[in-house]
Symmetry: C2
Amino acid sequence: MAENKQVIFKGYIDRSPTETDMELRINKVELKVPKGSGAFLVKNLYLSCDPYMRGRMRDFHGSYLPPFVPGQALEGFGVSKVVDSDNPNFKPDDLVSGITGWEEYSLIQKPLQLRKILQHDIPLSYYLGLLGMPGFTAYAGFYEVCSPKKGEYVFVSAASGAVGQLVGQFAKLLGCYVVGSAGSSQKVDLLKNKLRFDEAFNYKEESDLDAALKRYFPQGIDIYFDNVGGDMLDAALVNMRIHGRIAVCGMVSLDSLSKPKGIFNLSNLIMKRIRMQGFLQSDYLHLYPQFLEYIVSNYKQGKIVYIEDMNEGLESAPAALAGLFSGKNVGKKVVRIVHE
Amino acid sequence: MAENKQVIFKGYIDRSPTETDMELRINKVELKVPKGSGAFLVKNLYLSCDPYMRGRMRDFHGSYLPPFVPGQALEGFGVSKVVDSDNPNFKPDDLVSGITGWEEYSLIQKPLQLRKILQHDIPLSYYLGLLGMPGFTAYAGFYEVCSPKKGEYVFVSAASGAVGQLVGQFAKLLGCYVVGSAGSSQKVDLLKNKLRFDEAFNYKEESDLDAALKRYFPQGIDIYFDNVGGDMLDAALVNMRIHGRIAVCGMVSLDSLSKPKGIFNLSNLIMKRIRMQGFLQSDYLHLYPQFLEYIVSNYKQGKIVYIEDMNEGLESAPAALAGLFSGKNVGKKVVRIVHE
């Protein structure tokens, strides 16, 4: 038996989470897996903070993922090391990534939720971002949903985030003109100087988002990769070009599902024959191998970079998650639980 | 020279038109076309009242059609007979359909706006509906935008209108389950008993549109063909199934572009991976020959019916157009200018 520190989900909310919606608890864990269970036990090394997790904090059972269980540890993407296994596909010391618990040790009873890490010359935490769900979201969303063409005008919101920073780089690799929006001058600087966006702006400094988009896209937007919804989506709708495409990836600005903000400019969909499409990366998993090849190749050639924002210690995880919704993170938010 | 009664556009509005936004005027017209002009003169037989015409009454130049010119006659789709011609492709007594003036005689200076009517065993006025822009809108919207499959659950709003009544019949021909909404019990009756919808309801009698849709689609909606926008679109979003499609054809509920109603449930686009697409029939004109063949064949076999709502006399045209926006029309609204 060992101690197992956990981040517990306290109860349902219908707003963005704060640190106090979670609490730390010390539990016990059996370090041996019961024989005949087919399960395996992992030690969690890195946990991923992702905006979609807010959806699992709501008392709403109609979504693609069930809500968290109040009183139990949160779940999310993680990178972990196998400690003990009753499953022939996983051996002690194997490194894995996938859905795990927000705790030091997790008993994995659904082995299909994790895959083994085979590529060992890329930082392990990148399996939560560049090579993980956010990276694959950017890949599927940009290439499969946006139908991009060389030379097109691409706008990305939350552009320095886990997904946005890659969408912009993919668009640049394809030969598009790319502008990103973000919420601080530090992020704008990263977008322009490190992530190779053509332009970037701080939306908090713009009193008129429509005017801001007209300034950066006098000829209009072909592709809007939307991570935020709300006012930015409304402004983008007005600035779309004929036959434009909007990939609806996230609505991080939408603080409450029960009192959402209205979108007012959808009549542009008709006038400009716009395709607006919501998507989830999980619908495109057949493309994961080609994604991996594309990313690893471009990363190793230095054609793609990835910015992480790393917290230290499970204790810092609640604040790290809550910070996503006020834009505190600069790049992909990851929590390191233990140095290996 | 002859007298030429005209319906004059009085001035820009940003709301749905009323009868008094137009006025009748008697003008003069030369019944001979100037030599060397390439133009031709038509006598207008039928005029079409279509919701999109509201868009041309706004002082907004960014749309796919320019605004009407205050002080001049309105324009719209019509069926006309050639009176005199300086164009080798059009001879006196030819019947034509396309864009003409809201007046007794029109000098056509853009011959490409009209095509000759070749099929003479179908009522002439049907070239404004079943075989015209609304029919082709229904065809392109349903088959090209909705990606329909046999057995799917299809919802159509403004379902007895010029477009909706055909979308429902196309969906039934393909083997879908089809429910329509409309604004009177007379229309609901037509939908169920004449247009072969599986079910229909009067949205004005529903205090909760979400509950109404749940009643008719307990398993959810695969395809929503949206002619109205607004509250019905919001309710449909909540009731869409995973991988559902929304064809955004019109937003007749949207009374004002400058003060549109908000749409609040777009987060469903992500959760359910919905594709929402605006479209215009004019992007699909390469399909017009196959549309014509499909429609004529099905119509002659009695597999498609078409409901018209005919007004008599150019004098009645302003009220006929205004009536579209309060749902006064039952079926496709047409104005007969002259009995031939």
